[in-house]
Symmetry: C2
Subunit: 761 residues, 2 copies
């Protein structure tokens, strides 16, 4: 290529660079400054943008485009998003009512037996008490929804009140007639994607779910009853959401073409405007300060309107402080395992039977086939090697020293003439993956001894494997356990409130999906789809909490979001189904800490009747934000127009405690005092006594140690002081405070954590 | 190996040969010769065998074993089977009452929407009229039964009369508690296998079905209702047998270790002794004369007891005279297609949609993938070649000139990285096979034109395929059509009665199966099982007729087996669902003849009320056998002890006509006269008029041409004369005679065939 020809290319590049200088900003405005002349916020924001067009721009540049309004927001937060040049941004900053602006960021997306595991039942407790979440609306901000999924049929649903009509504006491939008494709303927001990717073609320009993620989340929270559902024969039964009579509104903000905060903000803002009761947000964000995090800001606005916001903790675990969203006013949800084991039952010719792990997605016939084990072949590390194994038999693949990654192991086996494999492995990652493309079972090195012994010493070793086995209960592993990938506290954006708040089922959850997308594979080149699939992640845990919050909202319509959160947290269970402390899959099944799982596994029936609650008003959150050492503009970005920081306090009336020491000081001692106020939501007079489990190296002092309530709704306060002397800088010291009702059934438990402060990178 | 060491081997071989000279014989006895001193037939037969032991044997040979009794038979036929040396056989022939003996032969097996296709419905017709076959017992002589199949649950079944208790003697792996009000009996017979294979280990020494064939047949005839059944997503719905309230008794006579006539005979004999109403026999035999065919003989005995015997025609088609069982007293069943198409829907990027054939046994995701067609790659004749096709795309495989057999095509495709195939083929064999291991659709060369055109001329050709499609109705091919493999008449063992008698659905019939056996494959090394499977063959057609016969027996308990057969035959439909003559898949969709399908497709609702019937008594069959030019012993083998041949006649009162000319004579003229008697089973006085469709080159004369019946059960006779002059020696000339009720609804049709006589090899 000659030199001359380079010029147009360079010019072109330069032009693109200049063009690229324009980008989308999310702008916070103080609406109290809006002149009365403007009929609406939209009018004001448009005018503001018009005004900056004429300011500071040279008339010479005719090609320079105008600032472009992307969205205006008015419910969860005040402001707009716009495509601006840096000059225009500077001009905007001088406009009346301007608070702050930050560039639009990229959002990335983070799965029914769980109702049984959560003890939900039709006879007693929260299901009948809440009429299964009747009339509560859950807004799901996600990848949209697959309206034809049987989970969104409206059989058994009551008529929609008229105020709810008209919120189904779902776009071309999604006729509004697909909305019904279950799926009452569906909207889509992609102006942010379009601005960030000029000329992009949106393939599904509607609220239709091209991924399946949003469909999964929505059906987990509030899917209707659907009989005869399974994942290729595994987890068979009747699917249903946690709140099967709650309604759903879907806000599509995640796109296969890219996902941006401006779109997510637009979705949440609209959901608040539409009047949802619960917001379910299974999304992941970049690591930002609270005042720069649109979800944190929008969640504040939602909370102001009495909407509980449930947000997934993220899947960045298992390391310390991998939780980015430390939003004090939202419920941050960790992910745990379920008491369900997907199995292949291996039966040796000598009659010995071993339950292995399998999710092979078909009913493979592996019956009395020759079993081969020898050190060379059992490496299973190439198709060539496997061609030496007897055709049509079963091979033992010893992966206990992880010689071959599962990805390659599946490939080698699928290319062979071997009929099935027994895979010896300690890799727990396979236990949360739905990928299992070859007929086999994964067994532990401990179970493998009998297999190797039989295969090595029998004259004609044979084995059978039965697939599509679903085993419920405490065996072979207690549940729940914290999922290895669940993000761990303290929260990056604000570590002063213990996060995550609570844990819910999030490993291999069965729920509805886009019926055309790949969810399983057989062999190397055959991909399968299903109406229901198994997914893992905090994205699946979050809608469980959203659904339970909906049940609580239906049962207690007067409870604030803080009261609902308190009820879930103080009744959460720190023990697994063997009545031992919940373990952490991310740390070799060590005991989990509140930084892994918050208060513990949610227990919806107990949450229905918590006895006492830690309530919080919007003012309490204002006081907390005031104590965050933000600038006026940063503070106002969260709190919006009017606020008063005269009572700033970081001691939020929260149902958990975290004290942070500074590792940069050696042998630190730390004293931190907390004050809490409890409201009696039990029936009438009662007395509670203190029970404390001290964190290591800590002393907890509580005053008073007895609380006497004369009547319902009476409030009583106590103080708690943590005194700590550190010996190990990296320790997570944890304990709990429990108020135990005398001669009563209620126990009100709060986790306590003492650990090191984290500094953002 | 040295020379010396060979000796013991040779000695051993010699010993085995000497031992092999003993074999199992089936022996017919004239029971009227049984001395009164014997308490039972068993006692007499045992004694007869003991007596020949002491005759003609040298005392020198101490190793010579005794004659060994295998079975005694007393219900369907009189006699026994025994392991005998040739000397012992000769001695036996001199015993009192001996009729004949022949060596035991090897038996081999042949192979639910059909109820709808047969117009069975709950509102009107034979189902409600027969109470769904209530209390009728169908005996299935086959590979046994899988008692745990949901098709054999007894929900909705009435209590068993006490005379039916105790016939469940099913062996070790089949506890008698598994019998119930649906499956009232199960027995097994393998003495024949054991004698023919000394030292053999019977793996499932019980009535349990190790194959699945018997389970399929039994559930087709009388399976209970089972919801949510499919073959890997194809043919979904509620499974049910033709007579869902009939009872079943299973007689296992086919073994994975070998199948012998002596065992089959024992099973049928016991079934007759147990008192079944219908016998369903989906087995194939060697080409034998009727007097040498134990099933023909046993069927005679069964008919004597008023039991209808339904036998599969065999799967030796499509050539002329491939039907071995020309048993005049049994119903011989041909196999036809069903109005059901298993499809993959192919959609091209240009919107064109084509319905192809597919039975890929999973929900493969093939969505908007790149489509490749070019002459080289589209040969698809090696995995190496296919590696040049784009990974993850769809390849068009042009097999219209049958370059690659499907067996190899599947192998090449499965080994490739191609995601799916569009296979252009005219091979109709694929349409009755359940093997479809790779995601693809088979389309015709005609449909392929659009695909090739689009793939060749589009810039970015793409296609999608949706699997697990089940299409009902007349498209793309009218149904029924005679299956290519269905055996064709005239019957080898006796061509004088037109066989087969009737056709029933036998192509890709969904019914219960051994849940552990392979029924499908994915790729090259993954085998799948299913509780229900699709099988094809006359074995599947036969139980449809057994079930319909059960319905007719329940509705008309007084009808003889001949009356039931006549009702089915004279009402059978010679037209397909497009109201055109039924075609033959075995002859490029030419019009089928009665040698392919007998009277036509069974029509159970019409059979309920046939108007007139051609009845036959045992004496009529005796007169027919007397006319077969057999020896006295041969005749008595069939008819048993007492018979009188003074009225021998080959002109059986049968609902069909066949005239055979001798091709060894040139330009033969043939005149054959038949006499028939019809019984009015309609209500009261009626008049029928003649309608004849002449076979080619033939003249049919009928007298009278009008029959007047004054009352129910009145009989009227007519004569029919066929005059034929042959021009083409190999022609199958066919027509029909129909008695049409005046001002009435009944039409009574009989097929007529004039063709060449076949000589056995």
């Amino acid at each position: 290529m000659g030199l001359i020809k380079v010029f147009p290319f360079l010019l072109c590049s330069w032009f693109l660079l200049a063009s690229a200088e324009r980008s989308t900003y999310i702008v916070h405005m103080d609406k109290s400054f809006m002149p009365k002349a403007f009929s609406s916020h939209h009018h004001w924001y448009s005018s503001t943008l018009q005004s900056i067009k004429s300011v500071g721009l040279t008339s010479l540049d005719a090609h320079n485009p105008s600032p472009k309004l992307v969205y205006t927001y008015d419910h969860a937060f005040h402001g707009f998003s716009a495509v601006l040049s840096t000059d225009e941004l500077e001009a905007l900053k001088k406009s009346t009512g301007f608070l702050s602006a930050y560039p639009d960021g990229v959002v990335t997306p983070d799965t029914t037996h769980t109702y049984k595991f959560l003890s939900l039942n039709t006879a007693t407790g929260i299901w009948p008490a809440s009429e299964y979440g009747k009339n509560v609306i859950i807004g799901v901000v996600d990848t949209g929804i697959w309206p034809e999924s049987p989970s969104f049929k409206d059989d058994g649903m009551t008529e929609i009140p008229s105020r709810w009509k008209g919120i189904c504006q779902a776009g071309e491939e999604f006729n509004s007639s697909l909305c019904n008494k279950k799926l009452i709303g569906a909207r889509y927001f992609n102006q942010g994607v379009r601005e960030a990717n000029p000329g992009v073609t949106i393939t599904l320009n509607s609220a239709r779910d091209d991924s399946g993620h949003g469909t999964h989340v929505a059906s987990t929270a509030a899917g209707n009853y659907v009989d005869g559902v399974s994942f290729f024969g595994y987890a068979p039964g009747t699917a249903r959401g946690v709140a099967p009579r709650a309604r759903l509104a879907a806000y599509k903000v995640l796109w296969s073409e890219g996902s941006y905060e401006s779109d997510a903000l637009a979705g949440i803002d609209q959901a608040v405007g539409d009047g949802v009761d619960i917001l379910s947000i299974s999304l992941s964000y970049r690591n930002t300060d609270l005042y720069d995090n649109p979800i944190a800001i929008a969640a504040f606005g939602a909370t102001e309107k009495g909407i509980l916001v449930s947000v997934s903790a993220g899947n960045r675990g298992p390391n310390f402080a991998t939780l980015l969203e430390g939003i004090p006013w939202a419920v941050i949800v960790a992910s745990g395992t379920v008491d369900r084991w997907f199995a292949g039952t291996l039966t040796l010719g000598n009659g010995l039977s071993i339950t292995g792990w399998s999710l092979f997605p078909a009913r493979a016939t592996v019956r009395n086939l020759t079993l081969t084990y020898n050190k060379t072949l059992s490496a299973c590390n190439s198709t060539e090697l496997l061609s030496e194994a007897p055709d049509g038999g079963i091979i033992v693949c010893n992966q206990s020293d992880e010689t071959t990654d599962f990805f390659f192991l599946w490939r080698y086996l699928s290319g062979s003439n071997v009929r099935a494999a027994i895979i010896i492995s300690e890799d727990t990652g396979i236990l949360r993956s739905a990928t299992f493309p070859y007929p086999g079972v994964v067994i532990t090195p401990k179970d493998a001894k009998d297999v190797i012994n039989y295969a090595s010493n029998s004259a004609d070793p044979q084995a059978s494997i039965e697939f599509q086995q679903t085993i419920l209960g405490t065996e072979p592993r207690p549940a729940p356990a914290v999922s290895g990938s669940s993000s761990r506290g303290p929260g990056r954006s604000y570590p002063g409130i213990l996060k995550p708040d609570i844990m819910a089922p999030g490993v291999l959850i069965l729920a509805a999906y886009n019926p055309y997308n790949n969810v399983a594979r057989i062999g190397n080149n055959i991909f399968l789809s299903s109406d229901y699939t198994l997914l893992s992640g905090t994205s699946m845990a979050c809608p469980h909490i959203s659904g339970i919050a909906a049940l609580l909202k239906a049962a207690h319509p007067d409870w604030s979001p803080a009261a609902i959160r308190s009820a879930m947290m103080t009744t959460a269970n720190p023990l697994d189904n063997t009545q031992k402390p919940i373990k952490d899959m991310g740390s070799d099944y060590e005991v989990a800490t509140p930084l892994d799982m918050g208060a513990g596994q949610v227990d919806p029936n107990r949450a229905l009747d918590p006895g006492l609650i830690y309530d919080a008003t919007l003012l309490d959150y204002v006081n907390l934000v005031c104590a965050m050492n933000f600038t006026r503009e940063q503070t106002q970005s969260i709190i919006r127009s009017s606020y008063n920081c005269s009572n700033s306090s970081s001691d939020l009336n929260y149902p958990s405690f975290i004290a942070l020491y500074d590792v940069q000081e050696k042998r630190t001692t730390l004293t931190q005092k907390f004050r809490r106020t409890l409201t009696n939501v039990g029936n009438g007079a009662t007395t509670y006594k203190l029970k404390v489990k001290q964190p290591k190296e800590s002393t907890i002092t509580v005053f008073p140690e007895t609380m006497v309530f004369q009547k319902k709704y009476e409030k009583q306060s106590y103080s708690l002081t943590i005194r700590y002397r550190s010996y190990s800088q990296t320790a997570i010291n944890h304990g709990s405070l429990t108020w135990v009702e005398e001669n009563g059934k209620h126990t009100v438990r709060s986790p306590i954590v003492v650990t090191q402060r984290v500094y953002n990178d």
